[in-house]
Symmetry: C2
Subunit: 268 residues, 2 copies
């Protein structure tokens, strides 16, 4: 079993030092709870609701900047795999809404969000590389960001690449929904997990920012699609669940069916 | 607005005449309720749990056989579009788990299930043609069968072909799930609808058959992914919902996002 943690946080726009410190404290709390893989939100150090590209640029940093380096230091100190989102300043001057996967060996993957939501396109360049899937001591772990998860094609690429767990740093803006219903974002995470027999850990944010409210929908979903933890409510929270990630290599749906082998790729 | 109906029925294995009569009575009841598009279950005339291929063969019929011809007659008499499933005897002797879409003009499309569940593969040949999308007076309507709906690639082909409503005759075998949860099949229908901004009408069966129990999960889902009708419980039932199918041509998710245009097909 692997202990997965998701740290729902409330970043404050522009408060790089404070946001970084709160993320590191959350990693420590997760490690104290025995977590081995920990997910942080999208844009965890910068905040999300930039006034303009200039503000985003001032808050962006390269993958070897202090935010990701801080996670890597904690990953090494506490034996963690950490996935989290940051505003990436590319070497060519472009900005990306990125996520990093780090472990005791340092930065294992940097992924640039390929599907941009709303005004993100005024700030960020969409990525053009597929989502990474990284071998870790706990199994193969995939990585994508927020709105990427709305595209089943993208999730499928990660699953077909052998991911047993998909980590999704996210900032889900709240949308209206029927009172009795779960947020559709959570239903999507559940259905993607069940469709691919792959665990999903989605780390949302909370805390109203410049008038934007959030789903606060952090969840840990098992490979059968059912919720193991979350959503936690509207405050910062640590979610923990134990998952048999080795079992997520088995795509059997019954004695004669398999979620991946039953695909008809020649027809798609 | 278009009035959509789903007729959850309890076919009895092998009772062709009785099953056909109950389906026609359900079409009449739907027409009496003002329905314009009506969905029947998978294998509505034959039943599902065949003892072997020989029994299935004895219950199969061509697309111009009495089952589909009966639907077409009712469609003409009552001004309906009807989608339903039948055991198809192919001209070459092979059997297919098929669905037909008929309207006042006769049989508009026959689709052969491409993804076969469990022991179906001992009886049926999987289809190799994409799911049809048919122009009707109510808009473009797509058609697939049961386990097909578990493959987001298949749903996407229908949506990208312009379907505003996807009709899914189904026989969903019951699977264990947490007590507090909706069946995963229904969650998948909801998420597919939301992901593609396309309505989905799934018609399940009820009535235990040779020891197999069913989800009884018939639902009508709006293009936003929320349930408009169903599931109805474990008895035969008529579900009705009014949907603005013209609105399902609009894939906008907000001022700057579109469920289809935001795809990155060059990357998939």
């Amino acid at each position: 079993m692997t202990r997965i943690a998701v740290c729902q946080l409330a970043p404050a726009i522009g408060d790089l030092d404070g946001n970084r410190a709160r993320a590191l404290a959350a990693l420590d709390a997760a490690a104290d709870a025995g977590a081995q893989v920990v997910v942080l939100p999208e844009l965890a150090a910068s905040g999300y609701v930039f006034r303009d590209a200039g503000e985003a640029r001032a808050l962006a940093e390269p993958p070897d900047g202090p935010t990701v380096a801080g996670w890597a230091e904690r990953a090494a100190a506490r034996g963690l795999v950490v996935a989290g989102g940051f505003a990436e300043a590319g070497a060519d001057g472009r900005l990306f809404n990125s996520a990093a996967l780090v472990d005791a060996g340092g930065v294992r993957a940097v992924y640039r969000k390929a599907h941009l939501w709303d005004r993100e396109a005024e700030v960020f360049t969409p990525g053009t590389d597929p989502p990474p899937v990284v071998d870790t001591p706990h199994g193969r772990i995939g990585l994508m960001v927020c709105y990427d998860l709305e595209f089943p094609e993208w999730v499928r690429t990660v699953a077909l690449d052998g991911a047993q767990l998909l980590c999704v740093p996210t900032n889900w803006p709240a949308e209206p929904r029927p009172d009795s219903e779960r947020p559709m974002e959570i239903l999507k995470a559940m259905v993607h997990a069940a469709t691919n027999r792959m665990a999903i850990a989605a780390c949302d944010r909370c805390g109203t920012e410049r008038g934007v409210d959030w789903v606060c929908g952090s969840v840990i979903v098992g490979p059968d699609g059912w919720l193991l933890a979350g959503p936690p409510g509207r405050e910062p929270a640590l979610l923990v669940a134990d998952i048999d990630l080795a079992g997520a290599r088995d795509k059997a749906l019954g004695p004669r069916n398999d979620a991946h082998r039953d695909r008809r790729p020649a027809l798609y």
